[in-house]
Amino acid sequence: MPNDPPWRLDIRPAGEDGLEINLGGRWCLNAQLPACDVLTAELGGRIRRVGIAAVGLTEWDSGLLAFLCGALRVCAERDIAADTAGLPSGAQRLIAMALAVPEQKVPGRDTAPPSLSARVGMATVEFLRDGPQMLHFLGEITQSLVRLAGGRARFRARDLWLEIEEVGPRALPIVAVISFLVGLILAYLGADQLRLVGAQIFIADLVAIGMVREVGALMTGIIIAGRTGAAFAAQLGTMQVNEEIDAYKTLGISPVDFLVLPRILALMLMVPLLTLYSGIIGILAGLLVSVTIFHVGVFEYYAETLRALELKHFLVGLSKGSVYGAMIAFAGCLRGMHCGRSAEAVGRAATSAVVTAILLITVAASIMTIVYYQLGI
């Protein structure tokens, strides 16, 4: 019959308390072998001796061994004498090797997936832990900044330059594209409303103040969070996996000084500059839309922009950029430094860095907007 399995398993009682097992045919992984339980089920009751033979065994591999080892472990646990002398000598040796080291009973390893309530609980605990962890990290950074001010913090200037280059020049194209399009959208949005009262010229005010004060910093912040915040988390996370961060610690070099400070400084320096750049690109986009679509004169637009832009708007934009930069670097470094020891953990750290950075940026943006409004700036 073609559907018969190629292997044969005969289990016969032998005497009062014995069992004779014979394995025949092909016992290979690809031969649809039976589960171990077939054998272990027979090992109960009064069985004290098991003899295993291999009469007519034509071919075997790990399949045979995996099948027997499960049963032989049970034999060992129940003090049943097992005789494997009838097996091929290679198989005997491998079985002996596999059984030589007793199975480790490792305590407290729960492999069952946690229940819904357990997951909710764990997520809550994790969320609550996040706050103190952030505060702790913030404290470490503050100490490190104090050391820096006292001239005692050590990091390589080259690292700072590398980060500055990475966040600065290399981010210019993407910031330009996004800012241009956002400027365009702002101009259209304003024009639609202002046309009703015949005041298209005020597109210039809207775009200039909007871009320089708020939108430039926000857009730059979000771009840099995705681009650089994630990269920081991945870099530091990989260092954590390779024990590089531990290596700094054992040498008495503070990883916060050495790795986190240059990144925070780089972002606090560069994000405001990018914000300014973003604002200028946005204004150019507004100019283009006003002149070509809404027939505002180039010089009129220019003059109106200059009139609208006061120094305070620039200062607000720059201060926001700087704060967002610090938030992004903080989130990226925080997630990287607390990364687990696996490739998956590095991925999670990068994702979490972006989410945290955007959350922090949004919260900071709201607070700063309210405070500046109250102060009348």
């Binding site: 995996a66 290679g90 090797m97 596999a98 199975e103 480790q104 009973k105 490792v106």
Partner: protein, 246 residues
């Protein structure tokens, strides 16, 4: 047909030829040692043998079939007959030990999950790691990682096992036990084993046959049983095998 044969092989990076004119045959069931000092190109040769790095010239034959001359699917099929243990274990860090060993099985065999679990337990038991199924690689010591790497390399019952620096990073006793494991596996399974190493104790105790790569000549300067190489070979090889005292 010998399981592995290397003909006129040259390996390197771009214009930098690390080793050239390599010719050797690995016989079935042998433990074949590729030895040489640091930086002589052992790892590079191993990468050419296991299909990770195309040689600059020459051919690698498995059972008479030219590996690098074969089309992609053919190469993948040949690759499955090889088990590889990397220098630092290279276990997949986000998978448990059981999942590490199970992955090749679930990719390339039609076994059910329950059967795979049995085979995985057996392979882990074979390397002395019974009960560590649910551990992640980061939770293991260096020696345990190496042994877990062996279990993964053995997952598909390979004909040929290639091992890079089994003893690096292990204490002498643990290294010795890993050597014994290698010999036991060869004796029991008849697996052909290629070991890349500079560890004298293992070269002399487990090697049936060997080649010595020299970093100055950029080629192999000795072949044969390492014990015999001790007395008869090139002075440089003797120098190496006696730690510079002979």
């Amino acid at each position: 047909m010998p399981p592995v044969e290397v003909r006129d092989l040259a390996i390197g990076y771009g214009d930098f030829v690390v080793q050239r004119n390599l010719n050797f045959v690995v016989n079935k069931g042998d433990i074949f040692v590729i030895m040489g000092g640091n930086g002589c190109g052992k790892t590079t040769l191993m990468r050419a043998l296991v299909g990770l790095q195309r040689p600059l010239q020459g051919s690698v034959l498995f059972g008479g079939e030219d590996f690098w001359g074969a089309p992609e699917e053919e190469r993948q099929r040949l690759n499955r007959r090889l088990g590889v243990l990397f220098q630092v274990g290279a276990l997949w860090s986000s998978l448990t030990l059981a999942e590490n060993v199970a992955l090749p099985l679930s990719e390339y065999t039609a076994l059910t999950q329950a059967r795979i679990a049995e085979v995985v337990s057996f392979k882990l038991a074979l390397v002395g790691l019974a009960g560590f199924e649910e551990f992640y690689p980061a939770e293991l010591s260096g020696g345990m990682k190496k042994r877990a790497g062996v279990a993964r390399a053995l997952a598909l019952d390979p004909d040929i096992l290639v091992i890079d620096e089994p003893s690096s990073g292990l204490d002498p006793l643990t290294a010795r036990r890993l050597d014994e494991l290698i010999v036991d596996l060869r004796d029991a399974l008849g697996t052909t084993i290629v070991v890349v190493t500079h560890d004298l104790a293992s070269i002399l105790s487990i090697g049936d046959n060997s080649i010595f790569l020299d970093s100055e000549a950029h080629t192999m300067i000795s072949t044969g049983n390492p014990q015999q190489a001790l007395i008869s070979a090139h002075p440089k090889v003797r120098h190496f095998l006696t730690r510079g005292t002979g």
